[in-house]
Amino acid sequence: MKKRLGLLGFVLALIALVAITVQAQKTENRLANNAAEQVYVAPGEYDQFYGFFSGGFNGQISVVGLPSGRTLRTIPVFSQWTENGYGYSEETKPMLMTSQGFIPWDDSHHPELSQTDGALDGRWIFINGNNTPRIARIDLKTFETHDIIEIPNAGGNHSSPFTTMNTEYVVAGTRFSVPIPQKDMPIADYKSNFKGTLTFVKVDPEDGDLSIAFQILMPGFDYDLAHCGKGPSHGWCFFTAYNTEEAHTLLEVNASQNDKDFVAAINWKTAEKCVADGKAETIAANYADNHMDDATGIAINEMRDSVTLLDPANCDGLVYFLPTPKSPHGVDVDPTGEYIVPGGKLSATLAIHSFSNMLKAIDTQDFTGDSYGIPILNFDTIIAGQVEKACLGPLHNEFDTKGFVYTSCFLSSEIIKWSLKSFEVVDRVPTFYSIGHLMIPGGDTMKPYDKFVVALNKITKDRYLPTGPELVQSAQLYDISGDKMQMLSDFPTMGEPHYAQAIPAELVMENQLRIYPLEENQHPFATKKEADVKVEREGNDVHVYMTAIRSHFAPDNIEGVKLGDTVYFHVTNLEQDWDIPHGFATYGMNEANVLIMPGQTLTVKWTPQDVGVFPFYCTDFCSALHQEMQGYIRVSPADSDIELSWSLGN
């Protein structure tokens, strides 16, 4: 009896054990397979992060919710945007003015969120225009471009617009060195004669207005990327420099000769002192300084005629070169501010600089030479550690809160995770395919939100349904909360996101402006009530003071316009409710439609080409009677004597 009981007990125990094991396995499988759950945002729920992805060759910024990967909006920055009339309306055209005239396109690379005390503050986002060197500031209350400043004495504003830890400055470095000042000279005389500049753009702490504080004149290398110090290294910025060979042709061979190139360490506090002490010179320059006037909603284009230029030869302790393998691309500073981590793209070994070692080497003048008078620090002294056989083609680094670095590796198409203590790789995951930048929310600040890492890939191939020869760029999202990175999702992106940044939603969503209050509208052509609508002639210009509300324009019948006139429709949206824009377009218009937000006035220009009666209408479906929101404008022969008249209703 006892024996049988014991046997029964044993069997029961065995069953229990098997059951527990099976259950444990199930749990593990669930954990491993809950990717869909982690990226799922239920209907009506919000994403945890706003992601800002540069548009690359589309010149804009895409706003992408994370973790869902849903595109929420496109912010037009450097390129005209037919969707809402940015760069087409009379109010926004001045934003795209440069020393080279009206430039309706640029190549936007690196979004950079503003910071306070080294952490994201949700006020603004900056982005560089690479081709015609510019920096833009977008206000995160409206998600609209508020400033664009042109960078003179520069070619290819690539190492930009990285910020200091309190957004004192955003920086701009020339990827392409050029004659400074520009002049007509043989390209073959590049060496020693072409120069680079590193520009420090002051950000007004109150209104965010951008102005050029000073430019530093540098040897004619290619200044590729940058990041500024934080904590102990606050006061310094670091720029990678490749093509230290100063090649001007076939760079893929000729600029890949040196085993080590440089990271240029700039002490901007010393620069400030030298400028204050009169050691800089003011030189002639011609560049645009554009900003949005909040009261009128009209962008203002101002041209500047000089800039402060600082030669390192006249300012001791301003610049040092940190020898860095090989043709480095990114340079990133860890959250403690101690480690300066370059991406030596042609070297499989990562060499990490120590900021405190760098200071010691400067202090003891531990130099191995100089380049154009700029001291070169001793590589062996300043190095903190090296990650051997890390990966192929390391480009960029972002950081978590636990002392790990995540490095994107272009050639081997992977992200590696490695330790700043042991300098050993602890994990690696594949990306699809050929990753450029990577991004952790807050991953270049002192306070990373280390939940996810996003891979921004250059090659897409077979990831999505094929769409002819051209494919959108792909991105992948990985969970980094555990020891192992785990891929969660794969989503398409617009243009070519070179870099992205992300910020917790609560730091931005509470500040959103919902309407422009009508009583604060100081646009000179605003019409704040229907009784005030009118049409006025000034020579061949006809100004229509028009209002829009669900569901009519006032006036909606206009006569007395003549062939040869230019008509300006100044449309004020009288609505004061969130998400009720009206659109405006008329037949044969040579611009794009304008999308007018509640309380806003926008102006679109129309030059009629023929005699006739032409319709205009609301382009944004606004109500059940949206299809009725239309009107006519009559264009008479140039010599007719029909007086201007306008009306609405009978």
């Binding site: 009508l518 009530k529 059940a624």
Partner: protein, 139 residues
């Protein structure tokens, strides 16, 4: 049977008509609508307040409303006799909810087919517009 239903329907309709009519005449029993305004104390007409209300009305409301004739929305003469002061202010401040939850507001939406615009009016502005309507109706 058919005859019965007809008579019953007629009687019911009559009752409803009489009932509604009675309600309309008793101003204090008018529905107050849905929104933040639950009680408005009306005093003697305040001409300065009515003047402020007229200015707000002209700025924010005239694109859709006229006093004496139907426009995008209904004519507003006599509105203080048709509706309670609370209903009027709730319709100004809280139109999005009103057209969904208040029967009269919904019927008006169905008739005019354009939703009453939310012009982001404050309670003070709505109160002054109410005073402007009262001054119109007193004339």
């Amino acid at each position: 049977m058919k005859m019965h239903a007809l008579v019953l329907g007629f009687l019911f309709g009559l009752l409803l008509f009489v009932g509604l009519n009675g309600l309309a005449q008793d101003n204090s029993g008018l529905p107050k609508g849905v929104g933040p305004i639950s009680e408005v104390e009306l005093a003697e007409l305040d001409p300065a307040l009515a003047e402020a209300g007229k200015a707000s009305f002209e700025q924010y409301c005239t694109a859709c409303h006229k006093i004496e004739e139907r426009y995008i929305g209904p004519a507003l003469l006599g509105v203080t006799e048709r509706r309670s002061p609370e209903w009027i202010m709730n319709m100004i401040i809280n139109p999005d909810v009103m057209i969904q939850e208040d029967d009269t507001a919904y019927e008006l939406f169905a008739e005019f087919m354009t939703p009453m615009a939310n012009q982001n009016m404050t309670e003070e502005q709505a109160r002054s517009i109410l005073e402007f309507f009262r001054s119109n109706d007193a004339e």
